[in-house]
C-alpha cells in the first residue's frame, strides 16, 4: 500500500502546500526502522549485563550514542521530520538544543561534569 507514491492531484498539491501531506517512508522502511530500534535496544540491555563493559570508560558514551541514534531515527522517520518543512525542523531542533544546553550547563554547575582536575 504505502509502497506506491500517492497520485499528484490538485487537492494533494494543496494539502502538501499546507504541510498536511508529505512523502512518507514506505511500510518496508517502517519495518526496518522498527527492527533497527529493537536491535539497538537489545544491545543496550545486553551491555548493561556485561560487568567488564560497564566498568570500562566506554560504557556511558556508548549508551548515550546509541540512545541518540534511536532518538534521531524516531524523529527523522516516524515523526517525518526528515521529509517535513524547515520551519517544523527549526521548531523542534531549536528548543532541543536549548534543552541539551540546559542539561549540560546544570551538570557542570552542580559538578556532575568537570573539565580537568579539581584544584
Amino acid at each position: 500500500m504505502a509502497d506506491h507514491p500517492p497520485p499528484e492531484t490538485t487537492e494533494h498539491a494543496d494539502l502538501t502546500a499546507m504541510g498536511e501531506v508529505h512523502e512518507h517512508p514506505t511500510w518496508k522502511q517502517y519495518k526496518w526502522v522498527a527492527l533497527i530500534l529493537t536491535l539497538i535496544t537489545v544491545f543496550e540491555v545486553w551491555a548493561y549485563y556485561v560487568p567488564a563493559f560497564v566498568a570500562s570508560r566506554g560504557f556511558v558514551p556508548t549508551l548515550l550514542i546509541m540512545s541518540a541514534v534511536k532518538f534521531a531515527i524516531v524523529v527523522m522517520f516516524y515523526m517525518h521530520l526528515r521529509y517535513d518543512h524547515r520551519l517544523f525542523r527549526a521548531l523542534f531542533t531549536g528548543p532541543l538544543i536549548i534543552a541539551m544546553a540546559t542539561i549540560i550547563s546544570l551538570l557542570f554547575l552542580f559538578a556532575k561534569l568537570t573539565i580537568g582536575a579539581h584544584g
Binding site: 511500510w27 551491555a47 524523529v75
Partner: protein, 237 residues
C-alpha cells in the same frame, strides 16, 4: 471569513503557508523538550546524592545505612538487605512495547492517508491488515495501555520494596520524572481512543490525515522521551 469557499480539507491561507495546527504541535513539542530536560537534569543532579536507600543499582543495608549487603549477608543469603530497586528486564519489555506502539502509529497514519486508494484485486490478508486504520489505532492505544500497566507494576513494586516519592532524593526525582512521562502517555492513550471512536463512528479518511498526524507526532514524542529516560535513568549506573 470565506472558509465556505475553500475545499473541504483546506484551511484559510496562512502567512507561512503551513497549517497553524501543525505549527502549534511542533511548537508544543519543542516546549515539552524543555520541560523534560528540566526533569531529567534534576534527576541527574540528584543522582548518587541519596543518603538512605533503596538505591537504583546498589544493594543497601537499612541497619547500617551502607550501600552494600548487611553484615553476614550475601547474594545467596539475604535477611535485611534491600535489593537494587530498578528491574531492567521488566523495563526493557515496556520499552519494547512503547517502541512498537510507534510503529503501529505510523501504520495507522498511513492507513488513514491511503484510505481513498482502491485496494488491488483480491487483496491478501496483509494488505487488508495494513489498510485498517481502526486496527492500528487500537493496537497503538493497547500498547500504550500495556506500557502504563508496566509502569503501575513498577511503581507498586517499588513502594512495596520501600521506595516512595518521600524516601530519598532518588525516589523524589525518579517518581516525578517517570510520573510526568506516564501522565503524557495517559493523555496520548485518551487521544488515540478518541480518534478510534471517530473512526468507528464516521470513518477517518485522507481529509482527516492532519488530525491523525498531529496525534502521531505527540505519540512519537512520548516515545523519544522514553528512549532518553530508559538510557539515562535505567541503564547508566
Amino acid at each position: 471569513m470565506a472558509t465556505a469557499a475553500l475545499p473541504h480539507s483546506a484551511h484559510p491561507a496562512t502567512t507561512t503557508g503551513l497549517d497553524h495546527r501543525k505549527v502549534a504541535i511542533w511548537a508544543f513539542i519543542g516546549s515539552e523538550c524543555m520541560l523534560f530536560a528540566s526533569l531529567i537534569s534534576t534527576y541527574l543532579i540528584y543522582k548518587g546524592r541519596s543518603v538512605t536507600g533503596p538505591f537504583p543499582h546498589e544493594w543497601y543495608c537499612p541497619d547500617t545505612h551502607v550501600p552494600t549487603f548487611c553484615p553476614g549477608e550475601s547474594a545467596g543469603h539475604i535477611v535485611h538487605s534491600m535489593k537494587p530497586i530498578l528491574n531492567i528486564p521488566v523495563t526493557s519489555q515496556s520499552t519494547f512495547v512503547l517502541l512498537m506502539s510507534s510503529l503501529a502509529m505510523v501504520l495507522a497514519l498511513a492507513a488513514v492517508e491511503n484510505k481513498d486508494k482502491p485496494l488491488p484485486p483480491n487483496p491478501g490478508l496483509g494488505t487488508r491488515i495494513l489498510s485498517s486504520s481502526k486496527l492500528w489505532l487500537l493496537m497503538t492505544a493497547a500498547m500504550g495501555t500495556t506500557f502504563l500497566g508496566y509502569q503501575a507494576f513498577e511503581f507498586t513494586s517499588f513502594v512495596h520494596e520501600g521506595l516512595t516519592i518521600r524516601s530519598n532524593l532518588f525516589g523524589s526525582s525518579f517518581f516525578t520524572l517517570t510520573g510526568f512521562h506516564g501522565a503524557h502517555v495517559t493523555a496520548g492513550v485518551l487521544w488515540l481512543l478518541t480518534l478510534l471512536a471517530i473512526d468507528v463512528k464516521r470513518g477517518l479518511g485522507p481529509k482527516d490525515a492532519l488530525i491523525v498526524d498531529i496525534s502521531a507526532l505527540y505519540w512519537h514524542f512520548v516515545d523519544v522521551v522514553w528512549i532518553a529516560i530508559f538510557t539515562l535513568v535505567y541503564l547508566i549506573r
